[in-house]
């Protein structure tokens, strides 16, 4: 059976480590630039992310997520932790909700984004617009739940419920590919 790139990294394959940098470098760099803004800090953070990735490679389970999603997961957690240490966001004017991108990438590029991103989008499409907006602000803008509640004029509990049900829906979609609506996520 062919080992995945991350499984080869976990096994200490020197070539796989370099290949990992070339395959996922653009993705991690792009996330770092978006989350951290300052190029010098983004560079330091990307170095940290790759070290964390190599250390975590043995945890990769292809039955749970693709390599791309796994890498994005490790990177986001590191980058957001770092950003939160610096200061709570948002500073200045928030990005308008309608300005945020809504669609999945048109071009799949070199990574296997298309499959899981499309599944996530399919799950999100089944949510009510308000639920989807809340999830977008929490995940893509990293807004604290209280800030989302304040800006959208929603009770904090409603924001939390939208986030929970949305994540459950996406998780179910990623696990099964089944688009049948779940009672919990629909409410």
């Amino acid at each position: 059976m062919n080992e995945s790139l991350l499984q080869r990294v976990a096994a200490g394959d020197t070539g796989a480590v370099a290949e990992c940098v070339d395959t996922f470098g653009g993705l991690v760099w792009s996330l770092a630039r978006r989350i951290l803004h300052r190029p010098s800090e983004a560079e330091d953070a990307v170095q940290e992310v790759f070290i964390a990735l190599w250390k975590s490679a043995s945890r990769f389970d292809p039955s749970i997520a693709s390599e791309t999603t796994f890498v994005a997961m490790i990177a986001r957690r590191r980058l957001i932790d770092r950003q939160r240490r610096n200061a709570r966001r948002p500073e200045g004017e928030p990005v308008a909700i309608e300005d945020l991108p809504l669609s999945a990438p048109d071009e799949p590029g070199q990574l296997d984004l298309q499959d899981e991103a499309a599944k996530a989008m399919a799950a999100l499409d089944q949510l009510k617009p308000e639920q989807r907006n809340v999830l977008r602000l929490a995940v893509c803008q990293d807004w604290p739940h209280q800030l989302i509640a304040d800006r959208l004029g929603l009770p904090l509990g409603t924001v939390k419920t939208h986030v929970r049900r949305g994540l459950i829906k996406v998780r179910e979609e990623l696990a099964t590919g089944n688009t049948a609506p779940s009672k919990e996520a629909e409410r």
């Binding site: 560079e43 994005a72 997961m73 986001r76 809504l102 996530a120 995940v139």
Partner: protein, 87 residues
């Protein structure tokens, strides 16, 4: 599964969702640890792949490549990492 979660499990799912998208205060973090010990089929990263997939879906990464000097630094880190791993 989650569609018919009992109240304690639903509370745990809420805390896992909070953990994946916001900062848990110390009381909530301790509560989550306690609930996870009762439900070992879950872990603290339960929603992390979903969050990453949503992020990739809604904000596709740009095509900006990794800067060469940064790539070189990372490869030096990689060499050190592999040497340490062999020890």
């Amino acid at each position: 599964m989650s569609s018919h979660a009992e109240p304690r499990e639903e509370r745990m799912l809420q805390l896992l969702a909070d953990h994946a998208t916001d900062v848990l205060d110390s009381n909530s973090a301790a509560e989550l640890v306690g609930l996870l010990s009762v439900h070992p089929e879950y872990d603290e990263f339960y929603f992390e792949p979903s969050v990453a997939a949503i992020d990739l879906a809604m904000t596709p990464p740009s095509s900006e490549p990794l800067p060469k000097r940064l790539r070189d630094r990372i490869l030096i880190d990689a060499k050190r990492f592999l040497e340490t791993a062999e020890d």
